[in-house]
């Protein structure tokens, strides 16, 4: 596994974990996340990183 694969994997893991945590926080406390962050962009970048990981495999 190259360094770029490791970084890509870590980005994907970081974004995915963060997305999960933020969605849980938003579902428990509506407005606490969406008032400040647009999770759409987060989701798109996470999806792109996942696609790139699959493509590299």
């Amino acid at each position: 596994m190259t360094m770029s694969d490791v970084i890509l994997k870590e980005i994907n893991l970081a974004l995915g974990s963060a997305l999960l945590v933020l969605l849980v926080l938003e579902s428990i406390w509506p407005g606490s996340v969406l008032a400040y962050l647009n999770l759409n962009y987060w989701l798109i970048i996470w999806l792109i990183s996942a696609i790139l990981r699959l493509w590299k495999k």
């Binding site: 970084i7 926080l25 406390w29 407005g31 606490s32 996340v33 008032a35």
Partner: protein
């Protein structure tokens, strides 16, 4: 090792982000400010709506119809909101209101701008003490205290947000000989004034629940004397669609004017009212049901009228004495102004029902029932010539004029008990005749500072209690 460091880094960043979001939501220090220029989408302060009453000029909302509404989101409830609005342009009278009630769309209104009061603040006939204005057509009083101690005749005064010590006394009997039944056909909430001569107040309301929406439809009847609540009775929702009778009877009440408020949502129709009271005068809006009703007659003493219908079959021309008032489109609010400084009683004929009508005066279904125990309110006018009275008493804080010529005004609202749904409070901007103004009302910024005792206060009070 490097991977471990990277992982620690993003986990720490995520934890910091979550803590920051929680800090913003909890507001442990007790106050936070939200602001919006209304040009871009803002999660906390919503855009002005409905869109047909707002025009975008230079990327700023300009009010061309009224009222308009905006929402205010907070992640948790707060105790107080200090709202500051920066705006340009004028309108005779602009007020901002906070919605208080879930069932009835009632708003607690506060003044933002009054063209008349801004104009007369430098007038030699105006006395100002602690934001209380007293304007006199012919100077008779030297202080506001003199005026309040020996007020002039009831009909020569208009007030704005300042109570006056007038005690209304009814000439004639407050009760008619026997209990009488009259058709009302009123949908939703309404309120009326009546008079007790020392007896109890008793009313029977025949109501029907249309059950058009699945929400519960409780009904509450509240009687006020001035600002004091003297009687209240609640009625649960009824599943049955058939007509039922709701009866209320108070204990004997001191002689005087009382206001009865029937709080219900728009699923409830009051078909009939039975009472022995001789005086019943409705205030605020009336939703007269049933498009098939013909020639509904009302008696009122208003100067400013508004009407709207949601039903194409109810498009009509209302006659207020000999003045025609055309309602030619659905879902649009029409307004009419008829100078009536003497508060002369006018006969209003509505050819069809299913119409919402309101005025700045009172209404009765018969001329004999009509009376007006209220002091005249300051109308939304810009000059004293349009006032039609000899005295004006108002509680008003003049706007601050900024360096760029725009205005700024602040006001505080108590948020406790205010209507809040999904984290949003609802505000209204009322600006009658705004569209007629030479300089349209343009909102530049809304800033809302919310306040709550901070965490240290909670902790201190907890230990004080225990």
């Amino acid at each position: 090792m490097k991977l471990k460091n990277i992982r620690r880094l993003w986990i720490s960043a995520l934890a910091a982000l979550v803590l920051w979001l929680l800090w913003q939501a909890i507001v442990p220090l007790g106050s936070i400010t939200y602001k919006s220029d209304l040009a871009d989408n803002n999660y906390f302060i919503g855009k002005l709506s409905p869109s047909e009453r707002v025009e975008q000029i230079n990327n700023r909302p300009t009010i061309i119809g009224e009222p308009v509404y905006f929402s205010f989101f907070t992640p948790r409830p707060f105790r107080t909101a200090k709202l500051t609005m920066r705006f340009s342009g004028t309108a005779p009278l602009v007020e901002i209101g906070l919605r208080r009630d879930k069932t009835v769309w009632s708003y607690e209104m506060k003044p933002l701008y009054s063209a008349l009061l801004e104009k007369i603040k430098a007038d030699e006939n105006t006395i100002i003490q602690n934001d209380v204005f007293l304007w006199q057509k012919n100077r008779r009083y030297e202080t506001i205290e003199d005026f309040l101690k020996t007020p002039p005749p009831f009909n020569s005064v208009a007030v704005y947000r300042h109570p006056l010590p007038f005690a209304f006394s009814l000439s004639g009997s407050a009760r008619q000989g026997a209990t009488k039944e009259q058709s009302l056909g009123l949908r939703g909430a309404y309120q009326f004034y009546t008079y007790s001569d020392g007896n109890s107040l008793a009313f029977d309301f025949n109501v029907i629940d249309r059950n058009e929406n699945s929400d519960p439809d409780p009904i509450e009847v509240i009687i006020y004397r001035g600002a004091d609540r003297v009687f209240a009775q609640s009625f649960d929702d009824s599943v049955a669609k058939s007509e039922r009778r709701l009866s209320i009877a108070t204990p004997p009440l001191p002689a005087g004017v009382y206001r009865l408020e029937l709080k219900a949502n728009d699923d409830i129709v009051t078909t009939k009212l039975r009472t022995a009271q001789s005086k019943i005068a409705f205030s605020g809006r009336l939703w007269l049901v049933d498009a098939a009703r013909e020639n509904i007659i009302l008696y009122g003493d208003g100067s400013r009228y508004s009407a709207q219908t949601l039903n194409p079959s109810s498009l009509q021309t209302i006659m207020i004495d000999d003045q025609a008032f055309a309602i030619s489109e659905t879902y649009e609010q029409f307004s009419l102004s008829i100078p009536n400084s003497e508060r002369r009683l006018k006969r209003t004929v509505l050819p069809k029902g299913d119409l919402i009508i309101a005025s700045d005066g009172l209404w009765s279904f018969t001329a004999e029932q009509f009376f007006n125990p209220t002091v005249r309110s300051m109308p939304p006018v810009s000059t004293v010539a349009e006032l039609g009275v000899d005295y004006l008493v108002a509680k008003y804080e003049p706007v601050e004029i900024l360096a760029d010529g725009s205005f700024e005004q602040s006001m505080e609202f108590d948020l406790r008990g205010a209507y809040r749904e999904k984290g949003k409070y609802s505000f209204m901007i009322s600006a009658p005749n705004a569209a007629l103004s030479k300089e349209p009302l343009n909102i530049k910024e809304i800033k809302i500072e919310v306040l709550e005792p901070d965490i240290y206060d909670y902790v201190r009070r907890y230990f004080e209690r225990n």
